[in-house]
């Protein structure tokens, strides 16, 4: 990858972030979209979780990773704190994968 490609990627990645955080709020239309904005993080993060859990090169895949996430979700439902949840998920995924 050339320096030019890396710098173009950096510029594009920053432009996306900057457009959302800095330019977006100046658009008056956005003030009407408050209820939509309020639902955005939950929808986006749920989609992210789905992709991180099930995506296997364009296939839905259920494997050790999904087992770990399932165990972590149960912990989260039982109100285990954040650090405990990621620990449970990692341990279960590692155990299922390696044994």
């Amino acid at each position: 990858m050339s320096w030019t490609a890396i710098l173009l990627l950096a510029a594009g990645a920053y432009a996306a972030k900057f457009a959302g955080l800095v330019i977006g709020p100046r658009l008056t239309i956005l003030k009407r979209l408050d209820p939509w904005l309020a639902l955005l993080p939950a929808a986006m993060l749920a989609a992210l979780v789905t992709v991180q859990t099930l995506d296997g090169a364009k296939l839905l895949t259920i494997d050790a990773r999904a087992a770990g996430v399932a165990a972590g979700s149960v912990a989260a439902l039982k109100r285990v704190p954040f650090v405990g949840v990621i620990f449970v998920a990692a341990v279960v995924a590692a155990l299922v994968r390696n044994y």
Partner: protein, 234 residues
């Protein structure tokens, strides 16, 4: 250059360290292992250490960086690499929209904040029950992940593949589970639960059908559908 927000404006119980700090630091450490993996993959794909490190500093969005170096490593063109990476990075723009109302910083500081708008900082910000904590949690998570990601990249690029395979440690499962944990307080509200359910469903349907990046962007549409459903039957 340390923003005041990092010092946690309100000193809780006489402490200067806010209550979410530990979560942010742990999150950073986990990201650091992925940073090492990125440094190793970048080296294997033929990138110099300098290029890998500059990429982590300036691009700073993990999924995009992994995508770019994998495309190059498997013989794809630089144009394909940049395009697929940008598609994955586009979601940060939507996070930015959602975060805009929660961040008070202006000027240069807002420009710095923009670089830190990623999955982890957004999730940590929206996880805070007290909206006043959102901004501090954003900076803590963003700075913690930034530092760890860049140190990890440097270690991976220099030390090579002698170390740290994130999936052997189960860390590939730790991230989605961690995000679920951070979302949990919001999911007690019916409207956000519907939005999350639709976002996840749209993504699951889109994974086999679309380019990587699209399944997450579709969540913006899912949120709109959720809004319509909630309004119809309040």
């Amino acid at each position: 250059m340390v923003p005041d927000e990092l010092l946690g404006g309100d000193s809780v119980r006489g402490s200067r360290v806010p209550h979410y700090a530990r979560d942010c630091v742990v999150l950073g450490l986990a990201v650091g292992v992925f940073g090492i993996a990125f440094g190793v993959l970048a080296a294997e794909s033929g990138l110099s250490g300098a290029k890998a490190c500059v990429m982590s500093l300036l691009v700073f969005t993990g999924a995009s960086q992994f995508a770019a170096v994998s495309v190059v490593g498997s013989g794809g063109s630089a144009v394909t690499a940049v395009a697929s990476a940008l598609l994955l990075g586009a979601r940060n723009g939507i996070y930015g929209l959602a975060m805009a109302g929660r961040l008070r910083s202006r000027g240069v500081r807002r420009g710095i904040a923009a670089q830190l708008v990623i999955d982890e900082s957004t999730a940590m910000a929206v996880a805070q029950g007290d909206p006043a904590d959102s901004e501090g949690a954003f900076w803590w998570a963003g700075v913690s992940v930034f530092v760890a990601w860049n140190i990890g990249t440097l270690i991976g690029a220099v030390a090579g593949n002698a170390i740290a395979d994130p999936s052997a440690l189960g860390l590939d499962a730790a991230f989605p589970a961690g995000f679920i944990s951070l979302m949990m307080p919001q999911l007690r509200q019916r409207s956000t639960l519907i939005a999350a359910g639709l976002g996840a469903s749209f993504a699951a349907v889109a994974i086999p059908l679309t380019q990587p990046g699209i399944p997450i962007l579709l969540a913006a549409v899912a949120a709109l559908v959720a809004l319509a459903l909630v309004r119809r039957r309040p």
